[in-house]
């Protein structure tokens, strides 16, 4: 545990992981919101279709997030390590900086993979209940829309806390993004 703390301290990875968490969590929520609204507009009555489409999107985002972040972060960390080696005029192969650098790439990749999957899964929970006949599909749409709005709002609150500014303002800004996609999709639905 102390080693993990040391690696985080050396690489300053918590800042970038926090950024990835909020950014990709937001992406996950918005993607599934798009899927759910699209299903609502086209009158999808089978929850299985929404769950599978949503999880398909989640999985794709998760896998792409993992590899994208891992390779990008690894390249960046290698460059930083080379700069440090040049400053020290010494090979850092056996130092904790090499291990910390690998750890930072892996942690960023895992955060980038799990955050969209987590936020997207929250929005899909009502449809899973609906799949097993616990609640009607109409209620699932309402519950899912409410949960997605709450998730977006929570991400805003979290970012407001990080910034140390008005948390409600950040929450509302995130909700507005959800509202924009809702309006656009309903307008598209009108013309389709």
């Amino acid at each position: 545990m102390n080693k993990v703390k040391l690696y985080i301290q050396v690489t300053h990875v918590s800042d970038i992981a926090r950024r990835y968490f909020a950014m990709n969590g937001f992406d996950g929520s918005m993607t599934v919101l798009g899927v759910i609204l699209g299903a609502w507009i086209t009158g999808v009555k089978d929850p299985k279709v929404i769950v599978m489409t949503g999880f398909g999107a989640c999985l794709a985002m998760g896998v792409s997030g993992f590899f994208g972040a891992y390779i990008t972060e690894k390249a960046e960390r290698r460059r930083q390590l080379r700069e440090l080696e040049e400053s020290m005029l010494e090979d850092l192969d056996d130092s904790l900086h090499r291990d910390a650098s690998e750890f930072a790439s892996a942690l960023t990749a895992i955060t980038n993979c799990l955050s969209p999957a987590l936020t997207a899964a929250i929005s899909l929970v009502p449809f899973i209940f609906s799949m097993f006949g616990v609640i009607p599909i109409f209620n699932s749409y309402i519950a899912s829309f409410t949960l997605t709005s709450l998730t977006l709002f929570s991400i805003g609150i979290y970012l407001g806390r990080v910034a140390g500014e008005n948390v409600w303002l950040y929450g509302i800004q995130m909700l507005m993004a959800g509202l924009v996609i809702t309006i656009i999709l309903f307008l598209l639905g009108e013309f389709a």
Binding site: H12, M88, S95, H97
Partner: protein, 90 residues
């Protein structure tokens, strides 16, 4: 009775991370070391030059060198070594 190394002063170039308190704590956890003093001599964008004074009884310098390597630090020189029954100063 052999007393071994009682005090050693090192001139070290280290990266800015991990910070000085972390390195000092880690050094003080090596067996036979009673106290550590790290003084900053010069600071650069990525590196720090420091003087490290370590006191104890029968200090194992190899363990210190290994720890320095693990922490990405380089010992430029060993500036002072005190051995024997009595702590001798110059």
């Amino acid at each position: 009775m052999q007393h071994g190394v009682r005090r050693v002063v090192l001139d070290v170039l280290k990266l800015r991370d991990p910070p000085l308190p972390e390195l000092a704590m880690r050094l003080s956890s090596i067996p036979n070391i009673d106290g550590v003093n790290i003084s900053l001599v010069e600071i650069d964008q990525n590196t720090e030059s420091v003087k490290i004074a370590i006191e104890g009884s029968n200090i194992n310098i190899e363990k210190i060198q290994k720890l320095m390597k693990d922490y990405g630090a380089v010992i430029h020189s060993i500036d002072e070594v005190v051995v024997g029954k009595k702590m001798v100063t110059i």
